[in-house]
Assembly symmetry: C5
């Protein structure tokens, strides 16, 4: 998993039925420099990551993103109609971050 | 998942039967700099990504790409003959993008 | 898997039920330079990695991190109530490191 | 998936039985610069990728490589004795490329 | 998969039971420059990769590493007691390399 900030949204009308009702967010992963108190390098060469969200993460919030099976489990268990293990997404918000701390040993 | 632009096509006659009728596209992932309004860095060192498409994405269109099981689910559910969970692809277009927005908090 | 040092913690109140009781750690992966005795490059552009822990790894300790199914197996088998194969995490501590050695052939 | 050129071969006598008869190839992934007509950056820092092949790809040929389950499906379905879903490989040639084109919109 | 050299060992007493008896190795992935005869760039920013081994790879030997399900299959099938598909590792040695060759077309 990785720590990221929600920076935007993606809209699509041509997509899989299973994606209906699932919001697609653009997120910016935090780099280790961001975490460690150094001036933030915004990693301009980093791919633009898109992830599914059903927790209601808003723009500017910090989130934890998981990939793969974990992302599909997260989305499936949160939707009203239960079991959708085959939703065609590979990244999802699994937690909205209240706070994070990097210790003195760093 | 990541946001990408369709830039080309790959043709192959020596391939798995399961790939017959599935178009193979070349895509260019957007970098965070591309999304944020800075001059686009075209990430020349980035691997040339190939993905399967059955949504009909055309060259120059923006798409959302998923990897792994999500890609196979996407391809399987869209094909006329239904269940092909074992198609040997690991990346596919899961949405054609109408619009994306990066907020002011960035 | 990769070798990393525990550098911090993430707290979240909005998350999946399955994540209750599982600690989320921030870790800094070791680079090959760190291992080989050269001055450490702290890889400031590296994504901030978040991983689940039920082994009780403390800040400053060295750990081995696994991704994907391996991470879910690790977390599932360690929790009191046994089988939780669908916990929505994709990275976990699988070992707390006593010692590592890089040989003379390097 | 990604586009790559076959550049060499790996020989091993100490390996899993399931790998007997499967050729292990060294491939060089194409970068976006290679695709776009710019002078090729050979990405010297890129890991040396090894992939399984049962399609008969020869040195110098362009191929499409898939990772993970897709790779095992590809290898399993091509071998004479059918079902070998548990072959311990994570990358395989899924298509030998006749031609690829990058459009004018790039 | 990727080509790597064994450079060290990791010892841990706090780990999963399933990892008992499985050696954890530190490996240095070969870069394309290493393969192609150019002066080796040791990729100091590369993460320190840890992989499981039951083939008996020694320090300084070249190996092929596979990730994910392939790694678990490799470890499971080699251990005396057979079926351990849920061992919490995501990388393993699947072949010890006798020789590799990069062709003239490169």
């Amino acid at each position: 998993m990785f720590l990221a900030k929600v920076i935007g949204t993606v809209w699509s009308s041509v997509k899989w039925d299973e994606l209906g009702g699932i919001k697609l967010l653009l997120v910016r992963p935090y780099s280790l420099a961001d975490l460690g108190g150094k001036p933030a390098e915004k990693a301009p060469d980093h791919d633009g990551v898109v992830c599914a969200d059903v927790l209601g993460a808003g723009e500017g919030e910090d989130v934890v993103i998981a990939y793969g099976h974990a992302a599909r489990v997260a989305i499936s268990e949160m939707l009203p109609d239960g079991a959708k293990p085959n939703v065609p997404i590979d990244a999802a918000v699994v937690a909205i971050v209240d706070r994070y701390a990097v210790g003195e040993s760093e």
